[in-house]
């Protein structure tokens, strides 16, 4: 039987909503389902904000979450009530059976169920208290209830609960008990909904990873040597995972005192030939921008992972947005070209992370890998390659012949990449500076030199457009001329793909192209795509249409924009609505 079940768990931040989603996701992945999941949570640590953990478990490949969930678990009525609408007919709503305060009419979730939704009132709080003596394990009770109701195997859950809480001492056992209590209640409940889990497909062994975890895996597989970072949402988990993994490989990770220090240390490490990286978000990238210019000027390989969040300034730290594209491409004093790549899904995070080190080294440049919160935090099952697909040493090191008294660190070569001498190499001693310099590295402010060097720094990066085994752009859907094309980047591409596939089922000839290489820009491929479409729509999660600007500026062609800053993934149906409006030539409806 084909399985396609989407479960949403809704509660406050302190109720363990996200943790419940974590466990459910891991357990279902362990059982062999394909998973795509994304949680929405507020800034307060545990405070009082609303969180929704959503996951879709399938047996077939899917690209995004569904608009309608099959099951909703509410740990908190107040937050849960607005979510009830997302449950489909004959789907299930699990909610707290009893309130400890007297509620006004309509304040209980049961008042908001539609007649075709199946209610499961569960004494979540009481079951938790009975099992553990405390109300804290309500999330595990609810999870257990789902496991019991849908006959999901208990063992993966218990294993994951044990693993998750093993370092948290006294809470592992209560959580286990709470889960079992919920599971018993669930297995005794009379199942009336029409949601069911079939056997997972037996296929390739897949791993469940978040975008950030995939970045980490990419870093490790590419042989990262050093990492310097400073905590910032939503990039922190990259550092946290690396902090566990790197010491095991005798690699070094340092939490610096701020982002300036982090990028400076990365450049320092890169200068010595180490594969070095940092991870940050918009505000951190802003602090790094001066140092990034030094990276470009000094031609030091370094990798910067930037996970975008709502801006400007501190903005909306826990909501997703794609509004740092301009800063990633342009944000530095002077003409400071650099490589910017933006993966579109979790697997892409892995590939881009690894390839970023290759490119940084090969083109002796800072490389920014641009993610966003939706991509960083979303989980997907990924089939990992048997062996790391990355070149682990691509340094263009100076040969014996090139070293010696006449060694030119910044030699103007045919491809613009100069031979590097690393500190410690005999005959390669030179000075690196942020001042404009000549081929030898000596300070030189002459116009000819400045123009030549500027050209060198720019042109060498163009080779990245043909970097081997790397997908700069990719087209999906119908071949040849199409009625409408979707052009997208980053996490939004998944929704575009889903919208495109749906449009095709409605008989529309259409195609979608993802652009991974943002700088230097793959002008030819994108221009060709635009030319084959009657109309091109660029949906993105920023207000200004930063990518649409880039496309228009680079290709000289006009595209239609669709911009939302809702802090959440672009709704597929909105993309569809835009497509329909454009196809119908309805200019008013098209944004």
């Amino acid at each position: 039987m084909r399985t396609d079940v989407q479960i949403a768990i809704c509660g406050s931040a302190g109720e363990g909503t996200i943790a419940a989603g974590d466990i459910l996701r891991s357990a279902l992945a362990a059982a062999g389902y394909r998973i795509i999941s994304f949680d929405a949570y507020p800034a307060e640590i545990r405070g009082f904000g609303k969180c929704v953990a959503r996951l879709r478990a399938t047996t077939e490949q899917v690209y995004s979450l569904k608009e309608k969930s099959d099951v909703l678990v509410c740990l908190n009525d107040e937050y849960g009530i607005p979510q009830v609408g997302e449950v489909r007919d004959f789907g299930a709503v699990v909610y707290e059976a009893k309130s400890i305060t007297t509620l006004a009419a309509g304040a209980h979730l049961s008042a908001h169920l539609r007649p075709a939704q199946i209610p499961y009132p569960v004494a979540i709080r009481e079951l938790s208290e009975r099992a553990t003596g405390a109300t804290r394990s309500r999330n595990l009770v609810a999870l257990g209830f789902l496991a019991g109701l849908y006959g999901l195997g208990v063992d993966p859950f218990l294993r994951i609960i044990d693993a998750k809480f093993k370092n948290k001492g006294a809470i592992a056992e209560p959580n286990r008990k709470a889960f079992v209590a919920g599971q018993q209640a669930g297995s005794q409940a009379f199942k009336l909904d029409l949601v069911s889990f079939g056997q997972p497909s037996a296929g390739q062994k897949s791993t469940i990873l978040s975008g950030n975890a995939a970045v980490v895996q990419g870093c490790l597989d590419a042989g990262i040597d050093t990492f310097f970072g400073y905590p910032i949402t939503p990039a922190t988990t990259i550092m946290e995972r690396l902090a566990v993994e790197m010491p095991r490989r005798a690699k070094r990770l340092v939490q610096t005192e701020d982002e300036i220090s982090a990028i400076a240390a990365v450049i320092g490490a890169g200068y010595t030939g180490a594969r070095a990286a940092t991870a940050t978000s918009g505000p951190g990238l802003a602090l790094m921008s001066e140092m990034l210019g030094l990276g470009t000027m000094a031609e030091v390989p370094c990798v910067i992972f930037v996970s975008q969040r709502g801006g400007p300034s501190t903005g909306i730290p826990t909501k997703t947005e794609q509004s740092d594209l301009n800063m990633a491409i342009y944000g530095s004093p002077g003409d400071a070209p650099r490589i910017v790549i933006a993966p579109t899904n979790v697997e892409g995070c892995y590939r881009c992370a690894g390839k970023a080190f290759e490119m940084a080294e090969r083109y002796q440049s800072p490389v920014i890998v641009l993610l966003d919160l939706y991509l960083s935090n979303r989980y997907e099952t990924v089939v990992m390659p048997a062996a790391p697909p990355f070149e682990v040493d691509g340094d263009r090191l100076a040969s014996k012949k090139e070293l010696g008294p006449g060694y030119r660190r910044f030699a103007l070569t045919k491809d613009g990449v100069s031979p590097r001498a690393l500190p410690g190499m005999v005959g390669g001693m030179h000075v690196v500076t942020g001042l404009e310099h000549n081929e030898m590295g000596r300070v030189n402010e002459q116009p000819d030199n400045h123009e030549a060097m500027s050209r060198k720094r720019h042109d060498k990066l163009l080779h990245a457009l043909h970097h081997p085994d790397f997908t700069q752009v990719k087209r999906f859907g119908d071949e040849g001329r199409v009625a409408i094309g979707l052009l997208a980047w980053g996490s939004t591409f998944g929704e575009c793909l889903a919208a495109m596939f749906r449009a095709r089922t409605e008989g529309v000839r259409c195609a979608a192209m993802k652009v991974v290489m943002m700088s230097p820009f793959p002008v030819e491929a994108v221009a060709e795509f635009i030319d084959q479409c009657d109309v091109v729509l660029v949906p993105e999660l920023n207000y200004q249409g930063q990518f649409a600007h880039l496309v228009q500026a680079q290709t000289g062609r006009t595209v239609r924009r669709y911009n939302r800053v809702i802090g959440a993934p672009m709704p597929v149906e909105e993309i569809q609505a835009q497509m329909r409006a454009l196809l119908a030539g309805d200019e008013r409806k098209a944004a």
Partner: protein
């Protein structure tokens, strides 16, 4: 343990009549239940009220972090600035309007990591403001990473094996930077905390109050109420707050942190200096014109 009955209506009247509620905003603080910061968000209004400072002539400035949500919970002017930049912004405010009471608040990461470069300069310049530093030894807002004051060997998500870097000694730093009022309080002792805040505000010059506070969500082992409650001591009665050396020795007592006033010194503030400078400059100008 006192067993005498507490009569609610008496207490409510006492609180209502005290006037301290004027200084609270409407928003209920959103920290995790159990957080030590609640103690401070009740202490500052109490202190301001006692000191008779009007809410509208007070600016509470913060950086980024759990503690930096603070301005939202007090009924004063507030400026929630950028990570680490509380002191420069506060300096700007005080420089432009000496009539304001400026309270800078922030956490250990905000103040000693990203903002560490600003502290020496605000202190040595003796900017007339009060810096309340909420030290919980962890980054809470980003869900529990090591901070500059995390203990050696402490485990967090960014030091999963253990923290290999020794914590810095904020009090010793601030004393050596030239702060003119330095004290330490503990969130679990709300009455003493409030009294120290009041003294710090009353001080003319850069006053620094270090507030030890547990993070109940991400630190279950080190800086807990239990551990802190067991280890904190009082500044000895014999301690001379005018003796910088003695204050520094007290600051070295890190295993049993002493609560109370460490150091107090009367020195010209940055504002005084700028006034003198202006006077001098205007005086010279007047002489030149006269010539």
């Amino acid at each position: 343990m006192p067993t005498s009955p507490v009569y609610l209506e008496d207490k409510l009247r006492e609180v209502r009549e005290s006037g301290r509620m004027e200084y609270r905003s409407r928003s209920l603080p959103t920290w995790c239940p159990g957080c030590g910061y609640f103690s401070i968000v009740d202490g500052l209004p109490g202190a301001l009220n006692e000191a008779g400072i009007q809410p509208e002539s007070t600016v509470v400035v913060s950086g980024i972090g759990c503690s930096s949500r603070f301005p939202f919970f007090v009924n004063t002017y507030g400026f929630h600035t950028l990570h680490g930049r509380v002191l420069p912004v506060a300096t700007g405010i005080k420089t432009a309007n000496e009539a304001l009471t400026v309270i800078a608040v922030g956490g250990d990461g905000d103040g000693f990591a990203i903002g560490g470069g600003h502290l020496p300069h605000a202190a040595r310049r003796n900017v007339d403001l009060t810096y309340l530093l909420f030290d919980n030894g962890i980054y809470g807002l980003t869900k529990g990473q090591t901070s500059p004051t995390s203990a050696l060997g402490f485990r967090t998500s960014t030091s999963p094996y253990e923290n290999a870097d020794p914590p810095l000694n904020p009090l010793l730093m601030v004393l050596s930077y030239g702060a003119t009022w330095v004290g330490q309080a503990y969130a679990g002792r709300p009455q003493q905390l409030e009294a120290l805040i009041k003294q710090a505000i009353a001080h003319r010059g850069f006053s620094y109050l270090h507030i030890l506070s547990p993070c109940v969500t991400f630190d279950k082992t080190d800086r807990t109420y239990q551990n802190l409650g067991m280890h904190v001591t009082e500044v000895p009665a014999a301690h001379d707050p005018g003796d910088l050396g003695a204050a520094m020795r007290l600051a070295l007592q890190v295993q049993t942190p002493a609560l109370g006033l460490y150091y107090r010194e009367s020195r010209a503030t940055m504002g005084d200096g700028l006034n003198a400078l202006a006077e001098k400059a205007m005086g010279r100008g007047a002489r030149q014109r006269a010539a």
